[in-house]
């Protein structure tokens, strides 16, 4: 348990993070984030390395495994400030997902073998949970890991695996035995992606980008020492992973940045001789989004303050997920509405070197593209319907 950190200190820390980003984020990366351009793996690694040098990458990990033992509140303030300042989205698979799992459930050898390489950005990870038949109902997964000599042979298909094409390793759930309940008999495995039998097929989403993949596993070998925790206890580990994420699911920092960007683009865009931002209907929509943002921030703060006093959130995390996704969808819809004034252009013909940045068109198109990709925010990581089910059951006992 952490002591509650006084608010003035958090405000100072937030400022420090924003200033750090301003001073240290490479300008090409900054520009890509601003226009929602296509970040490459190398861009992410470059930025992660800068954060690591400052001691701010994986700082929420326990000190014993190379972190700084940050409280959930400090982590929240940090991540929101980073996003607000225009830093790239932090790929969560290593630092936020598998890292904490290995720190909690891994043996010493696993901690040694995997964690330093995550902090140093030497290994990129992906998350292999979902399958064609196992989406909302994750326990329906069919990928099998059968014992074979010194390890397992894994067969099956993973779907929607984000950034599998960049990954060296995948943490995945696979069935090691058939039990009475589908949640039992699932194991948490660390799988080397760079080996025969792993086939990655790209999937293009409606923003016309390649983030997600199908991953086919054909007799892929996972050594016994890459099993995390006990065999058949994967479900419990997956639930632990979710709990570490609880309080940061709402991306309020990103929402702040996008809202500011909507405002800037709407101030530049004109309608009937005046800035679009000054049109009452548009402004009203903007104000509503601002109200929703500040409400969500207040709710996050309230939960984080209580968490600092040892009151762990339960169903509230689902409420944050619902509102967080809705908020990003609302804000980016305003961005799409700005883009609609000029025909909903998603890609621009490269101009003949005339448009030096900042390119207003590129920024507006970036928001439009973000509107498309944010439709997934209410689908992944437990859809909003599933979150409603969770709360109805946890809070009211409805079945």
């Amino acid at each position: 348990m952490h002591d509650a950190e006084p608010e003035p200190e958090m405000a100072t820390f937030r400022r420090e993070v924003i200033d750090f980003v301003a001073a240290n984020l490479p300008s090409d990366i900054k520009e890509k984030v601003r226009c929602n351009g296509e970040l490459q793996k190398e861009d992410h690694v470059r930025w992660q390395t800068i954060l690591a040098a400052k001691g701010w990458y994986c700082a929420h990990w326990p000190q014993a495994v190379g972190g700084a033992g940050w409280s959930p509140l400090r982590r929240y303030v940090f991540e929101q400030a980073l996003a607000e300042a225009g830093a790239p989205w932090m790929l969560p698979f290593g630092p936020a997902y598998v890292g904490p799992v290995i720190a909690e459930y891994g043996d010493d050898e696993q901690k040694q073998r995997f964690l330093p390489d995550i902090i140093a950005s030497n290994t990129a990870w992906c998350q292999g949970y979902s399958e064609p038949g196992a989406g909302s109902d994750l326990a329906g997964l069919k990928t099998r890991a059968r014992r074979d000599g010194t390890g397992y042979r894994v067969n099956g298909q993973k779907l929607w695996t984000s950034f599998a094409h960049w990954a060296d390793m995948m943490f995945c759930l696979a069935r090691t035995s058939d039990e009475d309940r589908p949640q039992n008999g699932i194991s948490f495995l660390l799988l080397d992606m760079r080996q025969p039998g792993v086939t990655i097929r790209p999937i293009v989403t409606m923003d016309m980008r390649h983030h997600v993949n199908e991953v086919f596993l054909d007799d892929v070998f996972v050594p016994r020492e890459n099993l995390v925790g006990r065999e058949g206890r994967g479900w419990e580990i997956a639930k632990f992973l979710l709990s570490t994420e609880r309080l940061i699911v709402a991306e309020t920092g990103k929402a702040r940045r996008l809202l500011a960007q909507v405002r800037e683009t709407a101030e530049r865009a004109r309608e009937g001789g005046q800035p679009l931002f000054d049109r009452p209907v548009f402004r009203r929509g903007f104000v509503e989004a601002e109200i929703a943002l500040q409400t969500l921030e207040a709710y996050c703060s309230r939960l984080l303050k209580r968490a600092a006093l040892g009151e762990q959130p339960g169903y509230q995390a689902s409420l944050l997920k619902i509102r967080g996704s809705e908020l990003l969808q609302t804000i980016t819809a305003l961005g799409a509405s700005v883009a609609a004034r000029t025909g909903l252009a998603l890609d621009h013909e490269p101009s003949a070197g005339q448009n030096s940045p900042p390119d207003a068109d590129a920024e507006t198109s970036g928001l439009l593209r973000e509107y498309l990709s944010q439709r997934a925010a209410s689908i992944y990581g437990g859809s909003n319907e599933i979150q409603h089910n969770i709360v109805a059951k946890a809070r009211f006992g409805f079945q």
Partner: protein, 367 residues
């Protein structure tokens, strides 16, 4: 005006054509092309008369009206037809037909036979959804004309041969000027629209135009232009009304077949109710569009058209968003039609003004 039987036959024929002859490969064929559509297919569509529906018989057209074109646009939405139908059959052709000058009729003939994609460029670059002309100018000096205008991006303009550019003359009348897209001084700025079709904005910096390119021949074309824009806004609603039921039925089918937690998704009550809300949105959109068509010749025309756009835009957004949501991850993929209907409906929703813009208009137009 055609009879009801003719109208039904036209609609059925158009639906059958998109269902049987116009497949996914056609729909996506234009994506890699500079025009944003397949020129061969565009010619084929012209050949089946879709662009001549609203044109008077004396000008080689079918002599139909809004209802007939609405039926065609429904088919376009249903099949996600990427070729220029709205911009030709619902805008350029009726505009040229109504201008009626000899030069306009010449250009019209080439629209109808599919040899010359012709796109009206009216909206000014800084106008947003507003339709009034402010900075587009046509000047005349010793019988020599010059045009000066910056127009907002318009669908299909990237592949156009002729641009029909509106501008104010010295007397404040609206002129319609035909400009060859590749003429000197014409600067097209191309972009790809969210639905894969191509847009172009045009910048005309005091470009010289021959006298016969001024199609209104001294008359004020503002009423004609306004009528064309109003009707185009309604016809894009018909396009949406063709697309929306595909999403409603497709989503219902998906919920029946996709299983999670050991049962079909269709057994979850929240999804059943969502489907009903989608259906309601679809029914309302069809109802207001039909009402607008019924009121097209009456005193309530403008408000009925605005209402149609408001309700259809909202329905399009709701149905499209929920269709993606209820499909889950697969709904996000470019390969599944659902996301392509989603993106096309974004165009239908906002082209010629979104729901908010038309709601303000709806209020202003109160008698």
């Amino acid at each position: 005006m055609t009879s009801l039987d003719d109208l039904t036959a036209l609609r059925e024929h158009a639906f059958r054509w998109v269902d049987q002859a116009y497949g996914e490969a056609h729909e996506r064929a234009g994506r890699g092309l500079a025009e944003g559509y397949a020129p061969g297919m565009a010619a084929e569509i012209a050949g089946q008369g879709w662009l001549a529906v609203m044109v008077g018989a004396q000008n080689g057209g079918m002599g139909g009206g809004l209802r007939e074109m609405a039926a065609v646009m429904e088919a376009v939405g249903r099949g996600l037809v990427a070729e220029p139908v709205l911009s030709q059959g619902a805008i350029a052709a009726p505009l040229l037909d109504r201008l009626g000058t000899p030069q306009a009729r010449l250009l019209l003939a080439r629209v109808l036979d599919g040899t010359s994609v012709t796109v009206m460029m009216h909206q000014e670059a800084d106008a947003g959804f507003e339709r009034t002309l402010a900075s587009s100018r046509l000047t005349e000096e010793d019988g020599r004309f010059h045009i000066h205008a910056a127009k907002a991006p318009v669908l299909d303009a990237a592949g156009a041969k002729i641009l029909l550019v509106t501008a104010l003359d010295a007397a404040g009348r609206t002129a319609v000027v035909a400009i060859e897209a590749d003429a000197p001084g014409v600067r097209l700025v191309r972009s790809r629209s969210v639905d894969g079709r191509m847009l172009a904005a045009v910048h005309l910096d005091h470009v010289a135009v021959p006298a016969d390119a001024v199609l209104n021949a001294g008359a004020d074309a503002s009423a004609i232009v306004e009528t064309v824009l109003e009707e185009a806004a309604l016809l894009v609603c018909s396009e949406a009304c063709g697309a929306i039921p595909i999403l409603v039925e497709g989503t219902a089918d998906y919920l029946r077949t996709r299983r999670q937690f050991g049962m079909p998704l269709a057994s979850f009550q929240v999804l059943q109710h969502r489907m009903v809300d989608m259906l309601l949105a679809a029914e309302e959109a069809s109802a207001v569009v039909e009402a607008a068509l019924d009121s097209a010749d009456g005193p309530e025309r403008k408000r009925a058209f605005a209402l149609a756009k408001i309700v259809t835009a909202r329905s399009a957004r709701f149905v499209a968003q929920q269709a993606v949501q209820l499909h889950g991850g697969i709904g996000m993929t470019d390969d599944l039609k659902v996301s392509r209907y989603f993106r096309r409906l974004m165009q239908c929703e906002t082209m010629f003004g979104d729901a908010d813009w038309h709601a303000e208009r709806f209020d202003r137009l109160r008698g």
